[in-house]
Every structure is written in structure tokens, then in C-alpha cells.
């Protein structure tokens, strides 16, 4: 599916990345612990998280993650958005909780492993 499909499924607001919506994604991961993302994630292109700080974007950048979705209605501040722009990583926010958001994406065919 595309980032646009993820947006529709999660009824998410795009914070940054209107031009990145057509990118294909195949796998996703969900975590509030960036240490675990760095330790266990492999080739996932979407990160769902309830953590909001610049290290989320930096971690995503290191892992080649193309899209970050903030769950539970969380919104990043300007510094975080700026960082995502520099790195061309799409940012979205959904009011859904982590479990529900991950479940909906799974139901629609997105998987955890490549």
C-alpha cells in the first residue's frame, strides 16, 4: 500500500509529507521505545509511536523508515517537523491508540516482517 492508504485507513492528519504520499510501503513497526526500534526493526518503512521528541525522527532516519505515525492524537512541535522535512520523512497523527492503529493496518494487509 502507499502512505496515502495508511493515512486513509487510520483517518490520520498529514503533518508533513504531502509530496511523499505515493511512496509504496510494505511493512510497519510500533514502539514507544527507540532502543527497541534500533535493536529489532529490520527494513520496516512505517513507525507507529506514542513518543514525541526529535529522537523519533533521528531513529527513523537511521533505520530508513519513510513515515512516522504519532498515535493517541499526539502532535510534534516545530523542531521535530523541521527535522523530518530535512530528512524527507512523512509525519502523520491519528487519534487512534497504538493497538487499534496497528490492528487496522494489519487487517488491511500490512505486515511486521518483510
Amino acid at each position: 500500500m502507499t502512505i496515502q492508504d495508511v493515512k486513509s485507513i487510520l483517518n490520520a492528519d498529514v503533518i508533513y509529507g504531502d509530496g511523499l504520499m505515493e511512496q509504496e510501503i510494505h511493512t510497519a513497526c510500533g514502539s514507544d521505545m527507540m532502543s527497541d526500534v534500533l535493536a529489532f526493526v529490520k527494513d520496516q518503512s512505517v513507525l507507529l509511536t506514542g513518543l514525541v521528541n526529535p529522537q523519533v525522527v533521528r531513529t527513523a532516519d537511521m533505520m530508513d523508515i519513510r513515515c512516522i505515525i504519532f498515535v493517541r492524537g499526539k502532535c510534534p512541535d516545530e523542531d521535530i517537523i523541521e527535522l523530518a522535512k530535512e530528512r524527507e520523512i512523512a509525519l502523520m497523527s491519528t487519534s487512534l491508540r497504538m493497538f487499534t492503529a496497528c490492528g487496522l493496518l494489519w487487517e488491511n494487509g500490512l505486515r511486521g516482517e518483510g
Binding site: 534500533l38 535493536a39 531513529t59 537511521m62
Partner: protein, 141 residues
């Protein structure tokens, strides 16, 4: 030696939000040089974990990176409090990071194990009260 590139970065220990800037720059340089993506990934993760560690535990330090056609070598040197028990620090899940670091998504005790996992060679030279030098090498196939 020809084709040797050296990069050096000062890591600011006071600003956690900027931790990772050096790693991002190294990643960018490797990409420009046409280094294979799997090598870039290993270097980026190992170096980012190391950089985060420097900020959490050692009030910053210096990162030197050497890029040759055969390998990428990273030397992370700090003058922090040192690691009392390196073997213990290498165990997954063992962490001495303060609670505020955990609230930022780090401090799960995966830093050093991750650095070892993603580098082909890693050496830790640490003296309590003096500081720590971590040397990591990733080979370019």
C-alpha cells in the same frame, strides 16, 4: 594510503535533542561516496547508539570516522565516568540510564549490545573516572 577519508565531530553532551547529528552526517557522507546500503545501515545504527550513549552517560565527546574502500572505522572517545563492569554493560537489558532518558525512548539496555551486533569488530577501552573509548569497524564487502 589513497582514498582515505577522515571525519571528526564534537558531540555536545548538554543537548539530548541534538544527539544523533554526527551519525546523520556520517550516513549522508557514506551515501554520497556510494557505499553499499547494508554497510551504511550498520554504521548508522552502531554510531547513533554510540552517540546517544556519549550524551546520556559521558557529557559528550569526540567521534572520529575513517572511511577507506575496505572499511569504516569509528572511534568514540569521551572523558565521562567510565564503565565499571564492561561485561555487565554488554548484557542486553542492563542499563544505568536515568529515568528521564527512558522517558525519551532510550535506556533499555540495548545500546552496547546493539553496537556490537551491527559492527564487525568492537573494542571498549574504559577506565573509571577517566573515560571510555569505543572503536568499531564495519567492513565493506
Amino acid at each position: 594510503m589513497e582514498n582515505l577519508i577522515q571525519l571528526s565531530y564534537e558531540v555536545d553532551g548538554d543537548d539530548f535533542t541534538r544527539a544523533g547529528e554526527a551519525s546523520a552526517n556520517v550516513k549522508k557522507s557514506l551515501r554520497k561516496l556510494g557505499v553499499p546500503p547494508e554497510v551504511i545501515r550498520k554504521v548508522a545504527i552502531a554510531l547513533y547508539e554510540g552517540e546517544i550513549n556519549m550524551v546520556i552517560h559521558a557529557e559528550g565527546g569526540v567521534i572520529d570516522v575513517e572511511i577507506s574502500p575496505e572499511h569504516v572505522t569509528m572511534v568514540l572517545k569521551d572523558h565521562g565516568k567510565g564503565i565499571a563492569d564492561v561485561e555487565k554493560a554488554m548484557q542486553e537489558g542492563y542499563s544505568t540510564a536515568p529515568d528521564e532518558v527512558r522517558s525519551l525512548g532510550f535506556g533499555a539496555g540495548m545500546g552496547l549490545p546493539n553496537m556490537k551486533k551491527y559492527s564487525d569488530e568492537m573494542e571498549i577501552d574504559s577506565t573509571v573516572g577517566v573515560g571510555t573509548t569505543v572503536t568499531m569497524t564495519v567492513y565493506i564487502p
